[in-house]
Symmetry: C2
Subunit: 211 residues, 2 copies
């Protein structure tokens, strides 16, 4: 990964994948160069913001020309660490866990779900897409013998803290948390929360406000 000049704000972190997505679309449509202005129109942001954001990581453009689409696409991919594979285990083989395990889009970005685990004996050995559901007590051994970077928690909040701790104790440092609770696992563990109910409440509230 390219080393950023200074601290990257959360806002920039969230915009990088969007630049990547839009540039991918431009690559697909055969467009070879683009100015910050044209990209800004496409993405509905300001050109200034695009130039500021990119310059956290380096000068990828050329005065008078703009940006080479495919090379910028590749550079942002590198910044986001998409060059290497990222292995994921899913904890919880309910509907959401199974949906995650079978979601096709992750693989395109190098994220591979390589295991799905549950506590329910009933589910042991059942298929979840290409995977077989395993029992949680097999998890430590599985992590040890596979290069697991990310643990996804698709379990009730009552289980979340305990399961997260098992992941962390076995060396997983990235938690993708779908449980409705905040996890505090120490400075060296990164947690990304996805709270679908709160997302829905936000939608409904924004609509009521007319925003």
């Amino acid at each position: 990964m390219l080393k950023p000049k200074k601290k990257i704000s959360s806002a920039v972190i969230h915009r990088l994948p969007k630049y990547y997505r839009h540039l991918g679309e431009l690559v697909d449509s055969g467009i070879q160069r683009i100015s910050s202005r044209d990209l800004s129109i496409r993405m509905r942001v300001t050109a200034s913001q695009i130039r500021q954001d990119l310059n956290h990581f380096g000068g990828f453009g050329q005065q008078g020309y703009g940006y080479n689409v495919s090379s910028l696409y590749n550079e942002i991919g590198k910044i986001l660490g998409l060059g290497n594979a990222h292995n994921i285990v899913v904890l919880g083989a309910g509907n959401l866990g199974q949906a995650l395990a079978q979601y096709k889009s992750f693989k395109k970005r190098g994220f591979h779900i390589i295991g799905i685990f549950d506590v329910d004996k009933e589910l042991e050995g059942r298929d979840a897409g290409p995977l077989k559901i395993q029992m949680i007590d097999e998890l430590p051994h599985f992590i040890e013998s596979n290069d697991v970077e990310i643990g996804a928690l698709a379990i009730p909040k009552s289980e979340a803290k305990k399961m997260a701790q098992i992941l962390v104790d076995n060396g997983v440092r990235q938690i993708w948390n779908f449980a409705h609770t905040d996890l505090h696992l120490g400075d060296d563990v990164t947690v990304e929360n996805v709270n679908l109910t709160e997302s829905l409440m936000t939608l409904s509230f924004r609509a009521a406000l007319g925003q």
Copy 2:
């Protein structure tokens, strides 16, 4: 809904459901009053921010006392519009669509998934939890005869724009978009994007940055 004094920032909108969640936990644990300071410690934000946020909607506290937990919980519920039921239809009966249709937590907040639709004839009439999968051409009639507020798009991005337009044409004004594309449907339509792949990329990038 209480009428806010001035424009509510996106940051505040996203924090309100978190206040609601934490206050709900306090209610459950039998705590009857709390100061902004104690709540700030619990939620890992500043007390100042809590007081500022709440005062967008009214003065819910009392000097020298703090906030009454259950009454603040109820007030925020009202602000978020949780008093009334919100009906949802899910478009797309793949793994994600089916997971959403069977997700238990929405109902607790008054969000009811009342229909799930797909284009695939193979799926017609199959069970998705308590619902039967219907065909998309039944959607306009379904919306007309039910009070549908929200449409959830759990479909590929190639279909998203067209399906969103069907929803909007039939009067749905809130789109919960899981497809990997931006939708621009006019000022009177509220769109909430949930891009799971981008969420994963964000997690991985933050971990690489050590944030």
